[in-house]
Symmetry: C2
Amino acid sequence: MTVADVSRLDAADPLAGLRQQFLLPEGKIYLDGNSLGALSKPVQVRLENVVRQEWGRDLISSWNSNDWINLPVTVGEKIAVLLGAAAGQVISCDTVSVNLFKLMVTALELQPGRRIILTQEDNFPTDIYMAQAVSGLLGEQRCSVRSVPAEDIVDAMDTEVALLLLTQVNFRDGRLHDIEAVTRMAHAKGILVLWDLAHSAGVIPLELDRWQVDMAVGCGYKFLNGGPGAPGFLYLAERHQNQVGQPLSGWLGHAEPFAFEPGYRPARGVGRYLGGTPGILGMSALDAALDVFAGLDMCEVRQKSSAMTALFIDGVLGSPIADDCRVLTPLAATERGSQVSLAHPQAYGVAQALIETGVVVDFRAPDIVRFGFSPLYNSYRDVADALQHLLRILAEREYLQPRFAIRAKVT
Amino acid sequence: MTVADVSRLDAADPLAGLRQQFLLPEGKIYLDGNSLGALSKPVQVRLENVVRQEWGRDLISSWNSNDWINLPVTVGEKIAVLLGAAAGQVISCDTVSVNLFKLMVTALELQPGRRIILTQEDNFPTDIYMAQAVSGLLGEQRCSVRSVPAEDIVDAMDTEVALLLLTQVNFRDGRLHDIEAVTRMAHAKGILVLWDLAHSAGVIPLELDRWQVDMAVGCGYKFLNGGPGAPGFLYLAERHQNQVGQPLSGWLGHAEPFAFEPGYRPARGVGRYLGGTPGILGMSALDAALDVFAGLDMCEVRQKSSAMTALFIDGVLGSPIADDCRVLTPLAATERGSQVSLAHPQAYGVAQALIETGVVVDFRAPDIVRFGFSPLYNSYRDVADALQHLLRILAEREYLQPRFAIRAKVT
């Protein structure tokens, strides 16, 4: 593909104008939006206002006058649009880990007589750890974790399984589950599903309601661009609401928090999944970040994402220089998320050399370099340039430089 | 007390200079720092930098280069200084509610054979709700909540009690528990103590290590001035660390989070109480807010707090105009926190009339007006002026204006 070809792709990109809404660092190609999304101008403006005006000037009154108290719902409903969820089912709060805990316990209570949480052995660790936490707390008689390879999930769906806990896009290799098909199989066995959408929300069209998904969680700081450690979110289908409590029943999930009653009475609906006081700085940033998605056609976002990952994969596979790279990500665009993972024997050095040259990627032990493509602010030019830098680093074996030797702490 | 007397108090106040570090709204007397602390200049500067530089420019690398990954510990150690806690025992994370949950479960695991969480029936609701949550999740055989009036706490300490859960300063009336004495009594019965320091940290000298406190939680958004919904913190005495796990075992509490292992192995020390990814905007604000406390003598802070509440109480008690006000807060300075609570039959109207006149206070149902005094940015002049406004509102019965009629939603 020539420079002119790439320019034509960018010129024809219906999303190209969105890049102007982001404050990207000069001289860098940022391909780590799957780990931390970039800062957008609406977020910067909003945060200045929240700090100077809402907190600094209006102070406590902002809980009402600036509607802080409803931010978890306001943000939740904006995310719901991206999830294909009707109103009243999504709320933003806490972290992915804490939200997983709340929903897993809910699922077990909704499924008396079943005690297994089934998950994938290479699921993101916190998903597995939190399942282990639930089991540890409730005891093996009430909850046990069954962790199997991806190819064994279907066979492992038996009548003991209460909940199937999966992440749609695998964080290591970018492989995509077919939510609709897997959910249908689970339901046929009486199993509820809890999907982790950490690497999906904001980059893959989702139809949680239509696919009859039971529960989902996700994070605000990856493709939603909500800022470092942005609040998470959770989805609970309306048909499952109001049947059981939630295990972290803090005061803001009470039916009337400001009555300060001595006994807990859960709010109706998904609002009971709130607990403590939400972090308004982080939640305001996420709220503003979601405004960039207003009116976007998520199928266009997906189309661009697929075209970018294809352009990159084709470039790697088509170059003899990249012979020592193995493409871990599925070659079929419908089977992958918005990242490309390459395995390389010197992956840490490759990642560091890329970063030094201005291509921001990340490394995942033991041998993976991840390239995340964000259709809202990455261009095809970014993809082509990153590819050229990669091929140069591989050709010149820059990754062998002593300064790229692995260190103890890497994120 | 004359205007000149008040001016002399301010002129002699060793903390008076701190007010310049805060960005207070003009024309207002802010007496709600016990609910939301004011914005300080270091916080404003820090947040601008975190947004524009650390997130906007440095992006993912900030987890290492700007030490985001260690913020929970960095912030925790700054708070530890205010708690009288040696290093390695305090971490900032999650909300007060979630931290209560983690520590209550820890306490039960440390106390096999005991199953009662003893608390005060007018404790802050989230404390009680979360205790009820633990009981609901583990079952009455493993955990039951015993909630008694303050005067019955000592009698209720029997050999079934695993944990005594109390808030040092009552949110309604401002009454203070003697942590040292109550902890000693609990320990004599083999009971662990968990203190909620939401209304204490940053305004009352604390000596958690010396008092042999076992556990504590607190919030960052009241007297610590960390911003709306700032992260909470928790303290776990070193002698109790590494003996049991924690029930919300998310990935950042793992011994090696970036090894992405399939099984959870808790980090050593208080770090295992981390779970999900921390909110960096909120935690950076709290980190900067704590710098205002650097080098402060907390006994001076307490002395000023006591003098301010005394000035206000004396003014109310000394005026026949305030005859229909009842001072709920203890009259002995050593028995109260940094707030004064007045009961009045038209408390909502009184609070609204004060707010309209620029004195920011809050209302707590059914009949309480709370005046919070923050020694870092409130002056004696603030106290005297607020008192004059109150007396005028009472004398002229302004609280009866229809516009101050109670509405449904009040924070």
